[in-house]
Symmetry: C2
Subunit: 334 residues, 2 copies
């Protein structure tokens, strides 16, 4: 099955590029509200499921033991831009468990934000693992290991007992099998498992409603999503789509990007989960697609629909500020 | 018509993302050697046609008047990484015409090379228009304007007499109409015209053979392609695909990337032109696709085929240097 075009990029009046993909919106009972393309094909959710991967941090009591509030939990679910606040908060989380950045096994890279990279370079410093976009997630992982008395060394490995906890949470929430056959290694070295978009949408519908969960998990899930919605900057960063979308409708939209064109979302007032993947892995298209789906689902709220257009129909200017084109949802999505 | 998958990206053993597109290989008589997908649909060639756009620089005599050799002509055809040698040579070209960077109308941006950006930031400097990846092309444009006695101001505008010269060269070489209806504005502010891949492949077959050109144009075209093949670093930069591919087989492969997943190429010994576009605009896929096509066309040269694998089948490692996946040509291309 060939997935439909979800997003078009225009230059002048000509469609220059197109992005195909699949998307599904589901409630916690598994009822499909919207589906496009092949939503049963396994896809790697990558960073879009960090909120699910953070469940052990809350459920073990580690988050409370270290006094973590919204900010720390949001960073534990983040793919941040490596701006100073992100790196500093990750360091502070590690310090609570008596650790520092040398414990991180995510690897170092320059901030994904170019202005943060330039600012860091101007200080003469090199980037550390704290600037890795996943440093908050890894700090949460390390805090959980310490709290649970697990040997933290090698916590990123698929065979490490901590990754068993993460995998178990992922399987229970999504209902999808996480097997060795569908396992890959993520950019930050932890395992990632390819599962159907349907399972991811269902998982996020459960995360936001608590339906099908015991009371402890329901509370932990809600706490993590609320933390992200309360601290959108910490989940992503300056001018990032996650931050902009959650800022637009405080407490009403949870969204999380994943590498290679993935987006997941959860909508408290509608009790819905969303998962999408652009076949080509394009992040620019995934941002347009998730925003277009949000426009459909919130169609009765004209003000929000209008705000969402900033992300669903971005205008492109060149280095001289001249308007050269735009991205837009395809007819299938609009 | 849905274009075929040209390139797959694997993570672990799972295909994580796919890239569709169209590609055509043609000789200067218009005989098609290889075609995949819809090669008649107009696409913006973007920077892939800089060598054609540089014809007026040579044909007017400007290049000779300013003493330009391989290096300057290669930079005039480049989408460079903004490394010091690139920026310095662009400044030197402008100086020959009595100009400096303030004459450039391409806009300023940080070098596309992250290490060049970090190095520049460490000096405390801001990027200038010399760091714009198109500064060599624009320096060539400005030198041509000065040599021809044209008012250089506004030389990027579609209605400027200099852009008439560029458009005329593009039309004559490709045989495709360059009309207002298929015009867009490029990142560096000059007009770009959507034309069929077939016309682009034909144009590059003509550029490399001179077939169908008068003697002056044939000489100018060959001189520009030879300059690029002699100075691959100046056409792109450190670790860039254009540079690597032309370095692999000196004088045998001319390639030039364009934004949004475009590649054009010309092969002297085979007398062939190539043009391809990844539908989604992905540069990573365009690099794999052009290299896979080169492997097909040079299949009798085992050593070159083996070298080309470095670009046609790149291995992906994460921030810790762990192997996580690869890109590969699809069955349709392999």
């Amino acid at each position: 099955m060939t997935d439909p075009v979800l997003v078009e990029m225009l230059r002048g009046n000509v469609v220059e590029s197109v992005h195909r993909g699949a998307a599904v919106v589901m409630d916690a009972s598994g009822k499909v509200v919207l589906a496009l393309g092949d939503t049963a094909r396994p896809v790697f959710p990558r960073s879009a499921v960090k909120a699910i991967q953070a469940l052990p941090l809350v459920e073990t009591g580690a988050a409370d033991a270290y006094g973590f509030g919204h900010a720390e939990l949001a960073l534990a679910c983040a793919s941040h831009s490596g701006e100073p606040r992100h790196a500093e908060l990750a360091a502070a989380m590690l310090a609570k468990a008596g650790l520092d950045e040398t414990a991180l096994e995510c690897g170092a890279h320059w901030p994904t934000s170019q202005s943060a990279t330039v600012a860091l370079a101007r200080t003469g410093a090199e980037p550390s693992a704290l600037h890795n976009n996943c440093s908050g997630k890894h700090s949460g992982f390390l805090c959980t290991c310490c709290h649970e008395g697990l040997d933290r060394h090698g916590y990123v490995g698929a065979a490490h007992p901590f990754q068993d906890m993460v995998r178990q949470a992922m399987q229970e929430v999504t209902g999808a099998e996480h097997s060795e056959a569908n396992r890959g290694t993520d950019g930050c070295s932890i395992p990632t498992y390819a599962v159907p978009l349907d399972s991811l949408a269902l998982g996020f519908a459960r995360m936001v409603t608590g339906q099908g969960f015991g009371p402890e998990r329901a509370k932990a899930a809600r706490r993590l999503l609320e933390a992200c919605m309360a601290e959108p900057f910490l989940v992503a960063g300056t001018d990032r789509a996650d931050t902009r979308l959650m800022d637009m409708a405080p407490g009403r939209i949870f969204v999380k990007v994943g590498a290679e064109g993935v987006y997941c979302a959860a909508l408290p007032e509608l009790g819905l989960g969303i998962a999408l993947k652009c076949d080509d892995g394009a992040g620019r298209a995934a941002e347009v697609a998730i925003s277009a789906i949000l426009q459909k689902l919130f169609s009765k709220d004209g003000e929000l629909v209008s705000k969402l257009s900033d992300v669903s129909n971005p205008q492109m200017t060149n280095w001289n500020g001249i308007h050269v084109g735009s991205l837009r949802p395809s007819a299938a999505l609009a």
